[in-house]
Subunit: 421 residues, 2 copies
């Protein structure tokens, strides 16, 4: 029987509406395995919490508070955007991590994030060999962008996809009502700087019972202005209205984002705008249609109120599997979601080597984008639909979701020195 | 016993997530009163449907389709932005209405809209006297802006308020997670060009269990840039982050909207932007904080998936009451919501004269806005909370809300001449 070691868990990068469900999976599974895992210390603000010895004692939280993480969006322990350099470039960071791990008897490292975080986790996993400190590092996938390789999909994505599909359908109903005398075109801007998975979800607004004309601008497809305007005109002439889903990563053939229009304010300062108003004004200039536009931004990735049940279940399962893999002796791996059947949808937990995951981005395959570049294909629909399936409503109190706020009690510091980030 | 007459029902102005619940109330109540009301003809695209004799035969819809309107957002029959002129200015329109009403034996006129629509309905109600055609006109209140007088609140508002309160809370959780190394300020732009009711709802994101710093920019309060920047800085220094809810109607002391920044694109064209990016860039320039911003636009008023149960019930009740008042002989009135108790919240249906409703806007009273102008008071909170209470989820199919799309079968035309709008 292995010696009982403590675990470190942290959240990294942009948060999602279900990353806390993964935290819930980690902590509940660790509690069930108290014979092998001592305490779970969470890093306050991701890996920075480890470097600065700013640890949170999750054992101070009640079982019901931990259970509440499953329905609470965002990062309950704080996240960060901070990428570890390579060992050769910044050895001090790794030595510091080992000091902290040693001081707090940490033998398990669970890192919950996207591509950059997988890279950080991979580097930490190598400490055993390179610096001779025994640690098992497991990466828990999370990214609304759905761009991690190997895993069929990423926890966090299904809920954003559901939010965008639902919102696009609802707003399309609205613009259809208004189109005769008012708004004919509605534009919604969605996340996804490099990969168009979230934008693709807007295509789900239409189906056999909902004849909604949706034009999607993917980052994977170079923007052709005239072709786009013709497409929108065609829809408005046939259906009376048109909905446009534009990815923040939509760009011109020269690579410049649509959002970077060289816009200046009255004082000549460059303005940071969105792609949505640019596209909307383009339609107005060319076709004269009245428009409305929305930028979903953080609303889409924090919308736990409309989370996908599939997504919540998978996020939880990834956290649970991470603990199980670690207890089975794994290091430098990431649990994955393996789709075993499309109809009915079925999936199981798989495992990928972090060496194969780190720094690889998965884009929309060509066969998921319709021939004209403005829509999704049937095979894309088949891929997406199970991921948005099911609802998983949080409890409500006074008309608002009753999300958990943890106490986040700090663990007493054991090291005499701080660490400058 | 009165002669059986047909009814005309139409939706007007910006639609909401519960205006169809009012339609449901009208049509179901009419079906229950078949001894007095014949068919309910809906105007295709509001009053324009009446003027152009483009009527929809709602009797062609099944009971279950009509029941489905209760959970379907937007205007199922199409809406319009079209205000009737006064009788003196455009007598032809009124004469045309009478021709259409006569041709289709219409004795009841139900008009579902906001302030402008109340004015239209009021004008129609006077036809009995001015043009000697017997018609009973009842206005059914609807507006996300919550700015109609007399009624305690307006159907449509509670659901937008719930959406904004929930979204602000969720996005605040997100920015709090990110604040240490990334986004410190989140800005959400909400509807309400003249009245700040929707913006006020953002203040509900915070409560005794949720210590969220929210700064609200109301249309009722003249914008003071330095005071605003100081307030945001104060919050970020104390809490690490800040959420800002800006009304599209927020404006400078000279009346110019924040959204009108004289922004020009690379070609020198004026850009129509939102208030959110303007406010966000202002913070960035003054304080250097990283920001994110969202513009909710149509998403907020079509978000039936997160509708307030109170709102749905009241919208339905207004439609039902309209039919009952008409059958009781009323003309030129609007059913209202009368709050009879705050704790526990209780309300009943009242009645207002359209002469008192038309062209009056109700703004946020001073006692609902905190002394510094950036928040809501306890009395505002007491007013708002019951309006967002309760959930009323639509049914889902394939992960998406299963909203009803009606057949909208046209009524055969009886008039030989058309009418030019």
């Amino acid at each position: 029987m292995t010696k009982v070691k403590n675990a470190f868990y942290a959240q990294s990068g942009g948060v999602t509406s279900v990353i806390n469900a993964s935290a819930c999976g980690v902590i509940q599974s660790a509690r069930e395995n108290a014979a092998h895992i001592g305490k779970v210390y969470a890093g306050r603000n991701g890996i920075i919490g480890a470097l600065t010895e700013d640890l949170i004692d999750t054992s101070a939280e009640s079982d019901s508070a931990i259970a509440g993480l499953r329905h609470t969006p965002s990062g309950a322990f704080g996240s960060c955007r901070y990428k570890l350099k390579g060992l050769g470039e910044n050895r001090a960071e790794y030595e510091r991590l080992i000091e902290v791990f040693k001081a707090h008897d940490i033998g398990y490292f669970f890192y919950n994030g996207g591509g950059d975080s997988a890279d950080t986790c991979h580097k930490v996993s190598q400490i055993s060999q390179t610096l001779n400190y025994p640690i098992q590092a497991v990466h828990i996938p999370k990214t609304v962008d759905n761009d991690l390789p190997i895993t069929d999909n990423c926890p966090g994505f299904g809920s954003v996809a559901k939010y965008i599909a639902v919102s696009t359908r609802e707003a399309s109903f609205d613009v259809r009502s208004m189109a005769l005398t008012s708004t004919k075109v509605f534009v919604i801007e969605v996340m996804g700087r490099h990969a168009g998975w979230i934008a693709a979800a807007g295509g789900l607004a239409a189906d056999e019972n909902n004849d909604i004309p949706v034009v999607i601008l993917f980052p994977e497809v170079e923007f052709e202005q005239q072709k786009f305007i013709d497409k929108v005109q065609d829809h408005v002439e046939k259906s009376g209205f048109c909905s446009i889903v534009v990815s923040e990563g939509a760009h011109w053939p020269d690579g410049k984002f649509l959002a970077e229009q060289g816009t200046k304010d009255a004082f000549g300062h460059a303005q940071l705008g969105g792609a949505a108003p640019v596209v909307a004004n383009m339609i107005k200039d060319a076709l004269g249609y009245k428009f409305h536009w929305a930028v979903a931004d953080y609303l889409q990735r924090s919308a736990r109120h409309i989370a996908s049940r599939t997504d919540v279940e998978q996020a939880y399962a990834m956290g649970k599997a991470a603990v199980e893999f670690a207890l089975a002796g794994d290091n430098a791996i990431m649990p994955t979601i393996v789709r075993t059947s499309n109809k009915p949808y079925a999936w199981e937990v798989g495992k990928a080597s972090l060496a194969d995951v780190a720094n690889v981005e998965k884009f929309m395959p060509a066969e998921y984008i319709s021939e004209d570049g403005f829509g999704i294909t049937e095979s894309c629909r088949e891929y997406l639909l199970p991921l948005i399936a099911g609802e998983d409503y949080p409890p409500y109190k006074n008309g608002l979701p009753d999300y958990v706020v943890l106490k986040n009690v700090p663990v007493g510091k054991k090291l005499s020195e701080g660490f400058k980030i």
